[in-house]
């Protein structure tokens, strides 16, 4: 739920770019064991049922990216997408 609230604050026009970058991060993440199996299953179910650009889909991917590659995720949010408030909200959570 917390990540869904964060996603709601992300402008719609930035979501596709964000999803693309986050998917690259999680699919190339080396510390894949950090991914909880229930989160992985949620991601796969959402991916099977439709695009991940929905708020629920993006929230799952964002949560996974923070777990697997927190520094890179925050850096991308702050520097490339100029979403300092989103980055700050995530830093408070982790």
């Amino acid at each position: 739920m917390a990540y869904q609230k964060i996603v709601k604050t992300i402008p719609v026009e930035k979501r596709e770019d964000l999803l693309d970058k986050l998917l690259n991060l999680i699919l190339k993440a080396k510390k894949e064991n950090k991914m909880p199996s229930d989160l992985a299953n949620t991601m796969l179910s959402q991916w099977q049922l439709g695009p991940l650009t929905t708020e629920a889909g993006l929230a799952t991917i964002l949560e996974a990216a923070v777990l697997l590659e927190s520094e890179k995720t925050i850096e991308f949010l702050e520097q490339e997408l100029q979403l300092a408030d989103v980055a700050k909200a995530i830093k408070r959570m982790i």
């Binding site: 699919l27 064991n33 796969l44 179910s45 991916w47 099977q48």
Partner: protein, 331 residues
């Protein structure tokens, strides 16, 4: 119409492989093949996940072997998978890889006989009847399931040498050839045709499937760079007769073999030549890949399998194949 398959080696966490499997299904691939090696994730666990998270893609081990997994257990695994995804399961079976088997202390005895006997036991088990069989490598003594299997399963035979290729044509519903170049496919199809005609079948009765080392990117250089490590291993593992078929200097490949053995991957990958890339991969921009796939189709394949590395970025390469290559062949 040509079918498009995709192969994954389950060396990464299951959720990554299944993410790509779902993507492949969404993007129009017909078949999903998961390799079976003891040192990666288990093939049937991976396929069970694929069964749950996909709806129409056809899938199976590509390939399992009868030495590490007894034919009866292969039959049980496939029959169980076919309950999860009825009508979408195939079996890929081959003799296995000598080096990998040796690491487990298993000797590859009578590979041709072992594969033939496995298929015999497998098919009879799938009929749901009690199987009594006395072979040279395997036997079954009144073996049967306590459940009713859901019908026959297509069997694809992984084959390299002439005898296995011929046998695959004779008894297989499909043949899996590790080949990316028309010369190799041409040779294989010649052998398969012998088996097919011996069995009184037509070549079109058999799904001739080319397992390729594939790499696509809009930028040729990037596509090629991604293919280099895989090509180095393929070249090093190729018998000299195949190297000679492609006019590749055996001494250059010996250099790669030595470097790989010494763990000097920089030296090994740096020794991969353009001839090796051409012989052992389908690689380049989408247009270039289309040209190469066309040549393989002319040589006689009916299924094209996109295998490792797929591209510098697997997810983006699957999208690129779906947007540019598959539509060219499935207009």
């Amino acid at each position: 119409m040509v079918k498009f398959g995709i192969e994954f080696v389950p060396r990464e966490a299951y959720w990554k492989t299944i993410f790509y499997a779902i993507q492949a299904e969404k993007r129009g691939f017909d078949n999903l093949w998961i390799t079976d090696h003891y040192n990666n994730r288990n093939v049937y666990v991976t396929l069970a996940e694929a069964a749950i998270y996909t709806k129409k893609i056809v899938f199976g081990p590509g390939v399992t072997n009868p030495y590490l997994v007894n034919p009866v257990m292969t039959a049980q695994s496939i029959a169980s998978l076919n309950e999860l995804a009825p009508g979408r399961v195939v079996l890929g079976i081959g003799a296995g890889d000598k080096t990998t088997l040796a690491a487990t202390g298993i000797e590859m005895q009578k590979p041709l006989t072992a594969v033939v006997e496995t298929i015999e036991i497998f098919r009879r088990m799938m009929e749901g009847k009690s199987v009594t069989f006395e072979g040279q490598v395997f036997s079954a003594k009144g073996t049967r399931f306590n459940f009713k299997p859901r019908g026959a399963i297509p069997v694809y035979v992984g084959a390299q040498g002439p005898k296995m290729l011929e046998t695959a044509g004779k008894i297989g519903d499909g043949v899996l050839i590790n080949a990316s170049h028309p010369k190799d496919v041409d040779y294989a199809v010649g052998c398969i045709k012998k088996g097919v005609s011996e069995a009184g079948k037509k070549l079109t009765d058999v799904d001739v499937t080319a397992y390729t080392s594939f790499s696509v990117h809009k930028n040729l250089e990037k596509a090629t760079q991604a293919a280099v490590p895989v090509v180095a291993f393929i070249a090093a593992g190729s018998p000299n007769v195949i190297l000679e078929r492609h006019g590749i200097d055996v001494k250059k490949v010996d250099k790669i073999r030595g470097a790989l053995k010494a763990g000097d991957f920089g030296q090994a990958f740096g020794s991969v030549s353009p001839e090796m890339i051409k012989a052992f991969s389908v690689c380049g921009t989408p247009d270039r890949c289309i040209e190469q796939i066309n040549r393989l189709l002319k040589a006689g394949i009916s299924q094209f399998v996109v295998g490792s590395p797929i591209g510098p970025n697997v997810r983006k390469s699957i999208d690129l194949i779906s947007e540019t290559i598959i539509p060219h062949f499935k207009k």
